[in-house]
């Protein structure tokens, strides 16, 4: 370990600290402290000293005190050791890290950059992500282990380490990765449980797609990137319809609905389901109009018959009339998951959000019990077995998913209507 002994000394004393032991923290201040802080340096809490600071009375040292809030922050920060950089995007830098008390426990430290172009303070994505991850603890949702601020006033999110990339990598690597109906069932089960838990806690994710589904060392799939999430709105409050990456966006959002429900996430789950089967995006529209066209062709044209009220949505336009696809049509394309699987898929892709299956109903669907049984998570196909040499670098660059977005920036609808109240 190239860790300096200096740091180790402080840290080992730090480990004995517990939450109500702040006094000891202060008590061990260094005798040389006054020297350093007196020599034109800033004081330990980052407070700049005024140019004409009155000299402290002799014999009395300037106590290197920190406010309680700062102490708590330091304590969180010191639990982790930051390692090498795993990836960098415009939104955040991701570092590998580990627990100071147990170096084998790895973490990902996501340092959120100050957004220069956003002049209203802390970026809304960061606020949303933090707000919801603080509250949601579930095996299929990426866990937020800690948050602290670094001295340069950046937010640092300590997230669980998910080294096996994301679901998109597995779907795309058709040359090296093989998977079947049982694997799809296992992955879908994990995704559905994650979405169910969000909805059970009154949170809409609003950006479900394969590269936001990260994979833990044991094969467990975790829903990540809550930068677009929000709590369910009260009936009178409007929401923005400009959410969810286009290919995974449901028709009601494409038509500009301002009141919507968990059904928007369920549609995304349906499109991910279809993508897992086809191993290609199901409806990759080039723009919003194209997206509507693809939905009409692949699923059917939304009309007053199959969706009462749809024509009154603010941006309702349809390219032409296509009949709603029947079961046979789905069986032909998605038959690999069996009749029950197709039934579930059709229910998630219902045009009318009110008729769409809910996450809770999805978990009660008979497909989970029909043959074949879902693969155990340890036996799920994974990227590292076939990817060889490149795997490490690739995984690390992409980890933990959120940063990877920018490669695909052009296709991603991430522009948000922050101006609206």
């Amino acid at each position: 370990m190239a860790l300096s002994p200096v740091v180790t000394t402080t840290s080992s004393s730090a480990q004995n600290q517990n939450a109500d032991n702040f006094q000891t923290l202060r008590a061990v201040s260094s005798p040389l402290k006054a020297l350093t802080s007196g020599s034109g340096q800033t004081s330990s809490n980052g407070t700049p000293k005024p140019a004409l600071a009155p000299a402290p009375p002799t014999g009395q040292t300037l106590a290197p005190t920190l406010d309680l809030a700062e102490q708590m922050n330091e304590e969180e920060k010191r639990k982790y050791v930051k390692g090498k950089k795993l990836g960098e995007g415009t939104y955040a830098v991701v570092f590998l890290g580990h627990l100071r008390s147990s170096p084998a426990t790895r973490v990902a430290i996501k340092k959120i950059k100050v957004q220069k172009e956003y002049t209203e303070g802390m970026a809304p994505d960061a606020v949303r992500e933090l707000k919801h991850l603080q509250e949601l603890q579930h095996p299929n949702i990426i866990s937020l282990l800690s948050v602290f601020s670094s001295k340069d006033q950046n937010l640092n999110l300590v997230l669980e380490y998910l080294p096996l990339g994301d679901l998109e990598m597995l779907i795309r690597d058709t040359d090296n990765v093989r998977y079947g109906a049982a694997d799809i069932k296992a992955w879908m089960g994990m995704l559905t449980r994650a979405v169910w838990f969000c909805h059970e806690n009154f949170v809409l994710h609003r950006d479900i797609k394969p590269n936001n589904l990260l994979i833990a060392a044991d094969g467990e799939v975790k829903l990540a990137d809550f930068g677009l999430a929000r709590s369910f709105a009260d009936p009178h409050r409007h929401m923005t319809s400009n959410v969810i990456t286009r290919w995974y966006r449901p028709p009601e959002l494409l038509f500009g609905a301002r009141h919507y429900s968990g059904a928007v996430d369920v549609w995304s789950v349906g499109t991910v389901f279809a993508e897992l089967i086809l191993r290609a995006p199901y409806m990759p529209g080039n723009n919003e109009l194209d997206q509507i066209k693809m939905i009409c062709e692949s699923i059917g044209t939304p009309t007053e018959d199959n969706w009462p009220g749809v024509t009154r949505l603010p941006e309702y336009t349809v390219p032409g009339q296509h009949p709603t696809r029947g079961r046979d049509w789905y069986e032909m394309r998605f038959g690999i998951v069996g009749t029950d699987g197709v039934d579930l898929l059709m229910k998630t892709l219902s045009l009318n959000p009110q008729k769409r299956i809910t996450a809770r109903e999805m978990l009660q669907h008979r497909w989970w019990h029909s043959e074949p049984k879902p693969t155990r998570k340890d036996d799920l196909p994974r990227k590292d077995e076939s990817a060889g040499e490149d795997k490490m670098g690739m995984d690390l660059k992409r980890r933990p998913g959120m940063v990877a977005d920018e490669d695909r920036g052009a296709k991603v609808a991430r522009k948000l209507d922050f101006g609206q109240r």
């Binding site: 370990m1 260094s30 340096q41 005190t65 809304p124 707000k131 509250e135 001295k151 922050f418 109240r421």
Partner: protein, 361 residues
């Protein structure tokens, strides 16, 4: 155990911001102590100001909470957001002293950040316009400070929706007494908009307990209907009855104690903070005292924020000077408490190319 209870215990409100009265008091004493220690050296030994006591700090925070509520009403912010902002403000001043950071500034920052946390994107400039002598920069200067102070817990659970739920339930059970229920609804809502924010209710009680306590204040009979006595619930055998009765008693005791806390600050008090001469007069000396003993270095948040930013950016550019480097690590050898300077050394070394964090794992 009810899973709803378990779920509440996972919330940041329970994990980070719920305390027993004793530990809350201790936190406030500690905060007050630290602030005094930090401010004292800025005054000559023979001219030490009289510092605020933890109790006086609480009184002032309470007063500024009423200012915050008034400001939020003036800006026509919805109830939930106003309450979130007030809770942020109060949380901030548990681990920070009013002597250290000016409450008049943090109040506006709390309002702004409360909006953001609730997904209500009001333009910063528009908010600044609403206040006299306030720039956008001033509101923003305290934002990060506030976030750190509230330990990055942005989700606040309020009792308002709980009240709506309870009222629906009561309407179902008392279809004949619509007037009574409606009256209780309005009065309880009024209480919830004020009393829990002015007291420590959010720190000691769950949203549903606070809601029940507000109902208890307006119509005790309704609470009896919502939490029926044990004899009515013992359908599934007598074995559970004992523990049910015990649980009910515990719940009622908790709600009662929450009620007596809320009753100290009934909604009518809002006006008193501004119109009752005695109360106004009693606050005046405290505000004066605060003027004399506050941390002048940190009163100007804008300058402070600018300096911190500058410090962060210049640090990166500053070339490694071996001189300070050694002094600092010496300091650290002696067991630097906060490792802040050790971190500086670390950072400098890192810039020098050394892999301080150890080899890749």
């Amino acid at each position: 155990m009810a899973t709803e209870d378990e779920r509440y215990r996972q919330s940041s409100q329970f994990r980070l911001w719920s305390f027993s009265p004793t530990s809350l008091r201790e936190l406030r004493i500690k905060t007050n102590d630290l602030a005094k220690q930090q401010i004292a050296p800025r005054f000559a030994a023979d001219a030490q100001p009289e510092f605020l006591t933890p109790g006086e700090e609480s009184t002032l925070v309470q007063f500024f909470t009423t200012e915050l509520i008034r400001a939020a009403q003036f800006c026509e912010l919805p109830t939930e957001i106003r309450s979130t902002a007030a809770v942020f403000f109060r949380r901030f001043y548990i681990t920070n002293s009013v002597m250290t950071y000016p409450p008049t500034e943090l109040l506006k920052t709390s309002l702004f950040f409360g909006c953001k946390a609730e997904g209500y994107y009001i333009r910063l400039a528009k908010l600044a316009e609403m206040f006299p002598n306030t720039t956008s920069e001033q509101i923003l200067a305290g934002e990060f400070l506030l976030c750190q102070g509230i330990r990055f817990a942005f989700d606040v659970r309020h009792p308002f929706r709980a009240l709506e739920g309870a009222i629906l339930e009561l309407r179902k059970r008392l279809p004949e007494e619509e007037g009574r229920v409606a009256k209780a609804h309005a009065m309880a809502r009024d209480i919830l908009k004020f009393s829990p924010l002015l007291t420590d209710a959010y720190f000691h009680y769950t949203p549903s307990q606070i809601m029940m306590a507000s109902l208890l204040m307006v119509d005790q009979g309704l609470v009896e209907i919502l939490i029926p006595a044990g004899s009515q619930t013992g359908e599934d055998g007598n074995k559970h009855m004992g523990s049910n009765a015990e649980m009910r008693e515990k719940i009622m005791r908790t709600i009662e104690s929450c009620r007596s806390m809320l009753e100290k600050e009934p909604p009518q008090r809002m006006k008193e903070y501004w119109e009752t001469p005695e109360l106004v007069k009693s606050l005046k000396p405290l505000r004066k005292k605060l003027q004399k003993c506050r941390d002048t270095d940190r009163a100007d948040l804008v300058a402070l924020q600018r300096a911190r930013r500058e410090q962060a950016t210049t640090k990166v550019k500053k070339p490694t000077t071996t001189g300070t480097g050694t002094v600092q690590s010496d300091g650290a050898v002696f067991g630097e408490a906060m490792a802040v300077d050790a971190r500086d050394t670390k950072r400098r070394k890192l810039e020098g190319g050394g892999d301080l964090f150890g080899p890749p794992l």
